[in-house]
Symmetry: C2
Subunit: 307 residues, 2 copies
């Protein structure tokens, strides 16, 4: 089989994940079929996994997310910001599911020649972010690795009827984004604020049909939203909110915005904009419908394909 000889850069990240999860249908796609394991509500493919709790009205969210040196941060990044980013990314995912974070475990991969002081400063950044968002740091581990990485496991909770999975967009939904997009590499990617407060307000007041955070760029994440719902995004490109000085291409493809991308019925759009209580921008950028739409040009970030 020719497939066997292919490398990951030839296959790409989304296709890799699709193949790996296809090979486990009974475990991932329908975990409820595992005898004696009735806990799974939603498995792979969303921002977080969703598990039952002992309360019928509350679900647990579980997420893992890693940052790797030279991929998610450069060696000269301020160590506190590396730690902040590692935790804030996971909080952003929990927020985008409509939940709030509870606990985190940190895996540190590094090598013996690493300076203690740098690691200590990274952990100070983690603690600072944990304090700000009331996340209990409950453990983790250290392991040897020639490349510095931090993998964050986060658990959270959500009211069951407020969970916003990615796959429940409805035909005709308005598409919204928070904040401004593009240019995150100039610094925002190291010190962004996860949109937890805004997401909690949304699920309490204008429950989105679907929500996710924008981590790999609007173009790529929107394509995932389309695919998950078998719908098409009709985007008003002039409306896409851009970071000052950014081109549309950068706004669509830079990635690491960590803003919210969500949909709700068009009839609620006006009331939402009127009620929105935050200084953070809120912008309707289009609608999702069954009608085919032109493909957005450009690509977001792929971890395995060389750009």
């Amino acid at each position: 089989m020719q497939r066997e000889g292919k490398t990951l850069s030839e296959i790409g990240e989304d296709e890799l994940v699709k193949r790996l999860t296809q090979d486990w249908p009974e475990l991932i796609k329908n975990s409820a079929t595992i005898d004696g394991n009735p806990w799974v509500i939603l498995g792979a493919g969303d921002d977080c996994a969703v598990l039952r709790t002992h309360s019928a009205s509350v679900v647990q969210l579980v997420k893992v997310d890693a940052v790797v040196e030279n991929v998610h941060f450069l060696p000269d990044a301020p160590p506190e910001r590396i730690g902040w980013k590692a935790l804030a990314r996971a909080i952003s995912d929990i927020a985008a599911m409509g939940g709030y974070p509870v606990s985190a475990l940190i895996t540190l991969g590094t090598h013996g020649d690493e300076k203690y002081e740098r690691i200590n400063r990274i952990y100070r950044g983690i603690a600072q972010c944990a304090r700000e968002f009331k996340v209990a740091l409950v453990g983790g581990e250290t392991t040897a690795s020639s490349v510095l990485f931090l993998s964050v496991t986060m658990t959270g909770l959500a009211e069951r009827n407020k969970v916003c999975p990615r796959c429940s967009v409805r035909d005709g939904d308005a598409i919204f984004v928070t904040g401004e997009l593009g240019g995150s590499l100039r610094g925002k990617h190291l010190c962004f604020t996860p949109r937890l407060v805004e997401a909690q307000w949304l699920v309490d007041n204008f429950k989105p049909n679907a929500m996710m955070d924008i981590s790999d760029g609007l173009a790529k994440d929107l394509a995932r939203l389309e695919l998950a719902n078998n719908l098409h995004a009709h985007i008003n490109f002039e409306a896409v909110p851009l970071t000052e000085g950014c081109t549309l291409q950068e706004g669509l493809c830079d990635g690491e915005d960590y803003e919210l991308l969500f949909t709700l019925p068009q009839r609620k759009a006006k009331a939402l904009c009127a009620a929105w209580p935050f200084r953070l921008a809120l912008t309707q950028i289009g609608v999702m419908t069954k009608k085919p739409a032109p493909k957005i040009s450009g690509h977001g970030y792929d971890h395995f394909v060389r750009s």
Copy 2:
């Protein structure tokens, strides 16, 4: 400060973890003090974190554990066994807390030149282990890394009164180990069976005061048990069960045995041995008391110190 210039290999893994967690006392040691986060029962420092659930009699266990190429497996290891090992290590930790596994998320770090077929075989090994121990694979992520690593997040559940933390050894407790120790690098480290069945039987029938799994070698893990309890292990070295062909030194220090190390009152030791229903060996190797004991010579595995 001289401390600032030190590398991790000068400090060592246990000291690193101690320092990092000392710097977060309010978050890690007493997470209950975080306003609005009443979920933590036990934070860092044990095999797993322990969280409250919505049931008073059940707790949740959360664990992360990573395997890294050239540290935990060599590049030529059979890929299925790498996947098996990654998941089985986390199951071993959940078992050693007296719980059972529920769900797992897998973080894969690798690079674009990696062959798809190898990754697919690794994930088949993960799925095989998940099926055998009824773990639902509910997600994870892929990320770029120059070194192949797998980080496993596992959640589990335990009856609250059956949890076996590491820090509740009592003066005079008998010390037991399961199986045989040493020589795991000859192959066992890639295909061991986590002692879930045995641990569940123990907590149901002879609840240990404390339990952990032996991952870094009996010498090192026993020293951690002593430290956590401020007690001393008096070991009968002739009783330590050794893998065929192994020296005592290897049995104490090789690491990666993934056997259970536990303590219970000496008065129950005889009844336990009589009732033990498994073919797997069960051996009392000593007692824990307040009396100082000679230090065990040799060291287990340290991730940052060169051997």
